[in-house]
């Protein structure tokens, strides 16, 4: 009986009835999402896939509260092969301690996978965010093995189309824009499958929608009379 308990406590057995328990998780910072995730947060020592329908729907806002908490606690965070320039002022405003963050550039997919394994094997990194547009199952499998041997929370950002492919990740979230909110569908989690997609309110720069359409580009200079009362930073 004791042996059975031991087996159930380890992550090697998934039970169908209840959401599985994880030994260590990092809270996502969204109570509604935490309720649906096994162990109430991002799993550490495991692969998580975040499949976004497109960029700019608030997909990174899902990860930022956890990154802010980890970096404030002095833990290291690595961004691997980001598709654009991570913008320091925005990250600082989200509460991420920039001194604990490192960006790793890897031009090719093979280099990126190699770098991911190195980062996970090295130990000091507690959260790895990686962007892989295309990745084969065997490559993800290697990454999952490296993640299991580490104590890092590994978030893999991939396009939504990848949700139909098989994956060794233990948690997969599909994200879509839904009005002003972010619709999060749990494609895969340990334990009982999730029922309906969640509608999360993530921090967005504006919430007022339905402003007038795009005005035509004004001829002449951007600074012109008649546009007073604006904040001018100089």
């Amino acid at each position: 009986m004791a042996a059975l308990d031991l087996l159930l406590q380890s992550n090697s057995v998934w039970r169908g009835a209840a959401p599985a328990r994880f030994s260590a998780t990092v809270s996502t910072g969204y109570a509604a999402l935490d309720r649906e995730l096994p162990g109430a947060g991002w799993p550490t020592g495991a692969l998580t896939e975040i499949l976004g329908s497109q960029e700019g729907i608030g997909e990174l806002q899902l990860a930022l509260p956890a990154l802010a908490r980890l970096s404030a606690a002095g833990e290291r965070v690595v961004w691997l092969a980001p598709p654009h320039l991570p913008y320091a002022p925005a990250l600082a405003a989200a509460g991420v301690d920039l001194a604990r963050l490192a960006v790793v550039r890897a031009p090719g997919r093979r280099d990126a996978l190699w770098a991911a394994e190195q980062v996970l094997r090295a130990g000091p990194c507690r959260a790895l965010l990686a962007w892989f547009r295309h990745a084969r199952y065997e490559e993800l499998r290697r990454l999952a093995v490296a993640a299991e041997a580490s104590r890092a929370c590994v978030l893999l950002f991939r396009p939504l189309e990848a949700s139909s492919e098989p994956s060794p990740a233990c948690l997969r979230l599909a994200l879509e824009a839904h009005g002003g909110e972010l619709s999060v569908r749990i494609v895969k989690r340990r334990g009982q499958p999730a029922a309906a997609p969640l509608a999360l309110t993530v921090p967005r720069p504006v919430h007022a929608l339905g402003r007038p359409a795009f005005p035509p580009a004004a001829p002449g200079r951007a600074r012109e009379p008649g546009r007073l009362g604006l904040p001018v930073h100089a």
Binding site: P86, A92, A122, P124, C125, G210, P216, H233
Partner: protein, 348 residues
């Protein structure tokens, strides 16, 4: 010697370490133990068990002794001393006395040199990286041994691959002084993977200088911040060795209103005291350079935020920033200036 005996588990332990160390250097050795250094040297040369049974050749090459019909040291010792001194000189007698411990033989302590340079001829021309790596271990082990004898570490080593008519230098930099053979090998492996060996390598040469003091560190019981930093430094240098020096960097804010100047690259892990809050919302992804847009398929949601800045350094910006929603529901950061509309970032 007493301390070493206790530390390494007796004489057998000392000998085992000595033999394995020498084998790692690629040396064949004959090892002997005796009460005096000279006796040990003779025993090792003559490969014998007792001093008396050793062939005469180990002590003296004097042809006179051979012609007398002497074969072993024992027979030599049995001869009367004054006659021997008269015929062969006092030196031979002194040597014998030193071997027996009658005369003292002070030895100078070995002082390791302050730089390392060694060359290794490869047995055959090698045209693959694994072969070079294997041979390089033969040079790295002595380097590491020398460094630990001097309690030092190096930040930079240079491998020179000598080919038929040219040579290739491989420079390896370490972020902290080290003498760890594994760390040497790992970085060399990364470097070698990026070097194409057009010609087979015939010999390799390893050079290291500028030793820095490096003391062994005891690790803490509950996690070890210093070990953590050390691991991080090693990870950085491994990534840089394969992906280039700029492959890993940190981010810092910069007090400037121009979005493209409001951040800078820093060494990963560098602390920046000058935190600067931008007055408006800023996107997580920045486009560098901004993308000019021609389609008008954006809904402006907020703005404008006017940024007019930088006239003093010749890179003036006069822009009105808006937050816009694209047709695919993503939020972008747009600006308008004299020559049209641009997307500068994405609110991911």
């Amino acid at each position: 010697m007493q301390g070493s005996l206790r530390h390494l588990g007796g004489l057998e332990g000392v000998l085992a370490r000595l033999r394995s160390g020498l084998a790692g250097l690629g040396c064949e050795a004959s090892v002997a133990v005796a009460a005096t250094p000279r006796a040990a040297l003779w025993l090792a040369k003559g490969r014998g068990e007792a001093l008396e049974d050793l062939p005469l050749g180990v002590a003296s090459g004097d042809p006179l002794l051979k012609s007398l019909g002497l074969r072993t040291i024992g027979e030599l010792l049995a001869l009367p001393r004054d006659g021997l001194a008269k015929r062969c000189g006092q030196r031979l007698l002194d040597d014998l006395d030193r071997a027996l411990g009658v005369l003292p033989e002070p030895r100078q302590f070995f002082l390791p040199p302050a730089s390392f340079s060694a060359e290794l001829e490869l047995p055959g021309a090698v045209d693959h990286a694994e072969g070079v790596l294997f041979a390089a271990r033969r040079l790295l082990i002595p380097l590491s041994g020398l460094l630990s004898a001097r309690q030092a570490g190096v930040r930079r080593i240079v491998f020179r691959l000598l080919q038929h008519k040219k040579q290739t230098d491989i420079e390896i930099h370490f972020s902290s002084p080290t003498r760890d053979t594994q760390r040497f090998t790992r970085l060399l492996q990364e470097k070698l993977s990026s070097v194409s060996l057009r010609q087979p390598v015939e010999a390799i040469r390893l050079e290291a200088a500028d030793f820095e003091p490096l003391h062994e560190r005891t690790s803490g019981l509950f996690g070890d911040a210093q070990a953590d930093d050390e691991d991080w430094a090693q990870l950085r240098e491994r990534l840089q060795a394969r992906l280039g020096a700029g492959a890993i960097h940190g981010l810092a804010t910069q007090p400037d209103h121009r979005p493209e100047s409001a951040w800078r690259r820093v060494e990963a892990g560098e602390w920046d005291p000058r935190e600067f809050r931008q007055p408006g919302p800023r996107p997580i992804w920045l486009f560098d350079p901004p993308r000019k847009i021609t389609s008008q398929d954006f809904h402006l949601l907020a703005g404008p935020e006017r940024i007019e800045c930088g006239w003093w350094d010749g890179d003036e910006a006069k822009r009105d920033y808006f937050i816009g929603r694209a047709a695919d529901a993503s939020l972008v950061w747009l600006y308008r200036q004299d020559d049209g509309w641009f997307v500068h970032g994405i609110f991911a």
